[in-house]
Subunit: 360 residues, 2 copies
C-alpha cells in the first residue's frame, strides 16, 4: 500500500486498507454501471441498491431490531445536537450528562429549544472519568436522557449505561459506534457522525426507536425533521451519496472479518497493549482513570508540555501521525479506531519506548 | 476510461474524466502524505491546505470580490432554504419568485421562520418560462428577494436577473453555478448544492456579502448560523472534507481548460446543438419556452408518454443514461452540465434522430 503511514487522528481518521482498495477499484466504473458512485443519481436503481444494502448491512452488524429505523441525517453530530431536542423534547425537560466537551456542546445546543437539566458535570475532575450511576441526578420526568458514549477528547468511555427504565436513552456514539457489539434495545436513539468508525465526513447515522418519531413540529427545519426523514427514507433531499457508499464498504469489511465481536477483540487487544505499556512506563502519565478508559482514544502525557510537542513531531517523522492531544487536555492522544491495525499500535509502543529512554 | 457511459442525470451527475483520474491517482496517498484525503483530520495542515486552495480557486474562478465570504454549509440547498430566512429575515418580509419546484420549496421552508411574500408564481404556465421583470410584484421593503437561477426540473434559466436596487438578491444557483461567468456583486447571497457542477453531494457552497452576516439569533441551530460559520471558517464542526476536496479538483479542472468563459462557450455549443435539433425535428417538443431555455437541463417530449418511456429505456441501452424527465413535467430531460462532453450530446442527437425516424 504505497508508503501509507499510521494515522492516529481523532477524526476524520484512518480507513482500513481493504476499504480503500475496494473504493479505488470501483472508482471509475462501479460494477459495470459505466459511472462512478460519485456520479450516481440518488434516485437511480443502481444507487438505491447501494443505499439499501448499506442500511441492511448496518442492521445485521449492529443487530438492529425491526422496531428501530436507520436515518442518514445532514450536519454530522452537531446537526443532531440541534435536531434531537427539536424532535424529542415536546415541551418537556431533557437531562444531559456532561462527561466531556461534546456532551457539553450537545446540552448547550439543546438549551436553544427547551428546558435542559444537567444531571452530572465532570468538569471538577477535568472529565477524566465516567461517573457512577448514583452520581447522576436525573430530573423527575425527562423527555430523554442524553449521554456521550465515548469522550474523544478526554479518552473516557461508558462501559455500562445507567438503567433509565422508561426514559429513552439518547446516546452520541460518534467515536465508538461499530467498535463492539451493543444492545440497541437499551437505547431510544443512537447517533454518530460518520467520520470515525463509519467512514468519511458528511453525514450522521441515527438509529431510532420507531415510536419516538411522531408529529414533529412543522416549524422544525426540514433537514432536521425525523418524521420527514423517515417518510422520505432519508432522501428528503440529496443525501451524502458517496459518504454513505463508503459506510457500505466499511460495513462489508467488518462483516468479512467476523463482525463486531471480532473487531471488539482486536480493539481490546490494541488498547490493552497500549495502556499496559503506559501503566508500566512512569515517563508517561495517562489522563483517563483506569476504569473509565476508552478503547478508541488513549490520552496521556510526557513529563512536560515541551516533551509532548517533541513527541508529536518526532512521531510524525516516524510515520505515526496526529498524536498531538486536543488543546482542552493537552498532552498526547492516540486514536485507535477500528481501522488502526495492531501493527500501528506496536510501532507506536516501540516509538514511545525509544522516546522515553532518550528523554527520561 | 473503461467503458464509461454518458450520464444525463440531473444531479448527482457526471464528473469530468480529468477530475476522476486525479481523484483516483491521489486516493491511497495524497501527495506523499501517506494517507487518503478521506482520512485527513479537517484540522491537519495537509487538509487545511486543500481547504484553503479550494476556496481560493473558487474565488479566482468566479471572481469573487473581497467583500464576499465563501461558506461551506451542511444540508445542501435544502439546508440553505432553512438557514437563509433564519439568518437574513430579521423580522422583515422576504420576497420569493416561484419559477419551479425548488423555488417553491425554498419559499415553503422560509414560511416557517417569518413572513414570505410571493412576488410571482409561474404555475399557470407550468413553469415553462422565466417571467419579465415587470411581472414581478415585490413587496414594499423586503429583507431579500429569492430567485432560483436555473430550474432543473422544468429546464428554464434566468438570463438577466431583475434590478433590485438596495435589496439583497439571494439566488439558488444549484444547477448552473460555474457554468458561465457571473457578476457576484449583483447578488447578496449565491448558494448551490455541490452535486451538479461543483462535484459530489454532501454540502452547499454559500457566497455571501460580508455585511449581510450580522448577529444571528442565538436560537438558530449552530450548523445553520452564518455568523458562527464565518467565525469558524466553515469548521464549526467537521465539514464534508472529501466532497470539498472534490470541489477543489473540479475548480482545478475548470481553471486548466480556461475558466468560466471557456466552459460557457462549450455549454452554449452543446445546448445550441441540442435545442436546434429539437426545434428542427417535429417529433420532439420542447417544454421550456425559447427565450427561457436552460443551458444545463434540456426538457422535451416525444408525441406520447409511452414513447417517452421507450426512449429512456433504449437510450440507456445505448449508453445514454438517466434521460427520463422529472415526474412533475414528464417526458425527457437531458442534463448537460459542465462535465458532459460535446461527444455525449452528439451521441444523444444521433440517438434522438434514429429514434424519431423509427417511431415517427
Amino acid at each position: 500500500m504505497e508508503d501509507r503511514i499510521y494515522n492516529f487522528a481523532a477524526g476524520p481518521s484512518m480507513l482500513a486498507d481493504e476499504v480503500l482498495i475496494k473504493i479505488k477499484e470501483e472508482l471509475f466504473n462501479y460494477k459495470g454501471s459505466g459511472m462512478s458512485v460519485m456520479e450516481m443519481s440518488h434516485r437511480s436503481k443502481g444507487y438505491l441498491e447501494i443505499f439499501e444494502n448499506t442500511k441492511a448491512g448496518l442492521r445485521r452488524l449492529l443487530e438492529i431490531p425491526e422496531d428501530y429505523e436507520i436515518l442518514f441525517m445532514h450536519g454530522g453530530a452537531t446537526g443532531m445536537f440541534a435536531s434531537i431536542p427539536q424532535n424529542l423534547l415536546k415541551g418537556k425537560t431533557a437531562d444531559y450528562v456532561i462527561t466531556g466537551n461534546f456532551a457539553k456542546k450537545a446540552a448547550q445546543e439543546a438549551e436553544k429549544f427547551g428546558d435542559v437539566h444537567i444531571a452530572y458535570d465532570g468538569k471538577e475532575n477535568n472529565y477524566s472519568l465516567i461517573p457512577d450511576e448514583n452520581e447522576l441526578n436525573f430530573s423527575e420526568d425527562p423527555a430523554y436522557i442524553h449521554i456521550c458514549a465515548n469522550n474523544t477528547i478526554y479518552g473516557t468511555e461508558w462501559k455500562k449505561f445507567p438503567k433509565v427504565e422508561s426514559v429513552p436513552l439518547v446516546v452520541d456514539m460518534s467515536s465508538d459506534i461499530l467498535s463492539k457489539p451493543i444492545n440497541v434495545s437499551d437505547f431510544g436513539l443512537i447517533y454518530a457522525g460518520a467520520q470515525k468508525n463509519m467512514g468519511i465526513a458528511g453525514f450522521a447515522v441515527a438509529i431510532i426507536r420507531k415510536d419516538l418519531i411522531s408529529e414533529t413540529d412543522p416549524k422544525v427545519p426540514s433537514i432536521m425533521n425525523y418524521e420527514l426523514s423517515l417518510k422520505n427514507d432519508s432522501m428528503l433531499n440529496t443525501p451524502a451519496t458517496y459518504p454513505i457508499y463508503v459506510l457500505g464498504k466499511v460495513v462489508e469489511w467488518l462483516e468479512e472479518i467476523g463482525g463486531l465481536k471480532e473487531i471488539e477483540k482486536r480493539n481490546i487487544l490494541k488498547a490493552q497493549k497500549l495502556y499496559d505499556f503506559i501503566d508500566n512506563t512512569p515517563f508517561y502519565r495517562p489522563h483517563a482513570q483506569k476504569e473509565s478508559r476508552s478503547l478508541m482514544n488513549v490520552t496521556f502525557t510526557t513529563p512536560d508540555p515541551e516533551l509532548d510537542a517533541a513527541f508529536a513531531k518526532q512521531a510524525t517523522e516516524n510515520g505515526l501521525s496526529n498524536l498531538k492531544g486536543h488543546r482542552l487536555v493537552g498532552g498526547l492522544r492516540a486514536s485507535i479506531y477500528n481501522a488502526m491495525p495492531l501493527t500501528g499500535v506496536e510501532k507506536l509502543i516501540d516509538f514511545m519506548d525509544r522516546f522515553a529512554k532518550e528523554n527520561g
